[in-house]
């Protein structure tokens, strides 16, 4: 596990976190390549199933990054996303997987630094947690599709 490189899926809202990622790029801030971004029109579009599926397919960590509270372009998509993340946390712990592997994060489009910092912090946290126990088994058999 010494040089374990976690795979992290970040569901990023087009209006904030995704733009913040761009901003981080133009500010030449580097963040770990472990983070794979999935752009969504709003974090309210991220379903419980999508998050769980990411883990099922072998992600070591997942986070959902939406707008600051009160700033959602679709009124309350970020609030809904936060609740779904909470539900996934519960589900994960029910099947014996660390709930810290999934988080809800909020930021605005201008927060390039926060985006980079979050990506770094989460990658570090997941690295310390070790690989997703489900992935371990999966890798022993066949690669996820």
């Amino acid at each position: 596990m010494g040089n374990f490189e976690p795979v992290i899926v970040a569901f990023c809202c087009h209006y904030c976190a995704y733009t913040a990622a761009d901003m981080a790029g133009s500010m030449r801030l580097s963040y770990p390549s472990n983070v794979k971004i999935v752009r969504v029109p709003c974090t309210g579009k991220v379903d419980t199933k999508h998050i769980l599926q990411a883990f099922h397919k072998g992600a070591d960590g997942v986070y959902v990054a939406g707008c600051l509270e009160g700033d959602c372009h679709f009124k309350n998509g970020n609030i809904k996303a936060a609740r779904r993340v909470a539900r996934v946390k519960k589900l994960l712990s029910e099947i014996g997987i660390e709930e810290e592997r999934v988080e809800m994060i909020t930021m605005s489009a201008g927060m390039g630094e926060r985006f980079a910092q979050t990506a770094t912090d989460i990658t570090e946290k997941i690295r310390n947690l070790g690989p997703n126990p489900v992935k371990n088994i999966r890798d022993g058999q066949k690669q996820p599709a």
């Binding site: 199933k49 099947i95 489900v134 058999q141």
Partner: protein, 222 residues
């Protein structure tokens, strides 16, 4: 609708532990509406169970299917295509659906994945509450459309009891006193007189006290 809630994962996992191939069956009716056992919940539970097995170094094959109605033989028949390919069935429908599967597929073990709770209505998004106990002799016409059997904690016929406080039931400040609701509603309807009528002791024979019930429509039954 009939409401239900998913069972704790631990209990579900214990039921299916001896098997490696299961059929996970949802229902498109009540349990879909109360977000307990529709197509979406089937997908979620399926993934979670597979992950739980993988964690233990095992594989679980899950065939997911959501029937139009699990309490109707014609839909349950649809499982015939898959039933021989699995070792057990896990149902996300209410108890009626689970039993229909058990009746039709006599040699296949079937387990409930949800706890069936009550007949109720949506209070608001994500909140359901009990409204009817199926007593078999509806008296809503006497009580302003509010059921004292399902909604009064003591099932009083001539309430309220002395515990009714500021419109709330004595069991909890979060529970409305059904008899207070009845009174307010009768008042709004100008039917206070109805409240004065003493209700006679209820005959519970049409209810569950008379053994398992059945409805026969002679113009339809074959």
């Amino acid at each position: 609708m009939i409401t239900a809630e998913r069972k704790p994962m631990e209990e579900i996992l214990e039921c299916i532990n001896p098997y490696n191939r299961i059929l996970l069956v949802g229902c498109n009716e009540c349990v879909t509406v109360c977000a307990a056992g529709g197509r979406k919940e089937v997908g979620l539970l399926s993934t979670a169970l597979q992950m739980a097995f993988m964690k233990e170094g095992r594989t679980l094959e899950v065939k997911e299917i959501t029937l139009e109605r699990q309490c109707d033989p014609e839909y349950v028949e649809e499982l015939i295509t898959y039933i021989d390919q699995v070792e057990a069935v896990l149902s996300m429908a209410c108890g009626c659906g689970v039993q229909e599967i058990a009746r039709r597929y006599a040699t296949k073990p079937v387990f409930p994945a949800v706890n069936t709770k009550f007949m109720g209505a949506s209070e608001r998004q994500g909140v359901w509450s009990e409204r009817c106990r199926g007593c078999g002799d509806c008296l809503l016409g006497l009580t302003g459309g509010i059921c004292p059997i399902a909604r009064c904690s003591k099932r009083l016929m001539n309430g309220p009891c002395g515990g009714s406080t500021k419109g709330k039931c004595e069991i909890s400040p979060d529970v409305d006193c059904a008899w207070n609701l009845i009174w307010e509603r009768l008042k709004a309807l100008g039917l206070e007189k109805k409240y004065e009528e003493i209700m006679v002791a209820k005959d519970w024979r049409p209810s569950w006290h008379g053994g398992p019930r059945r409805i026969i429509r002679e113009d339809m039954a074959e």
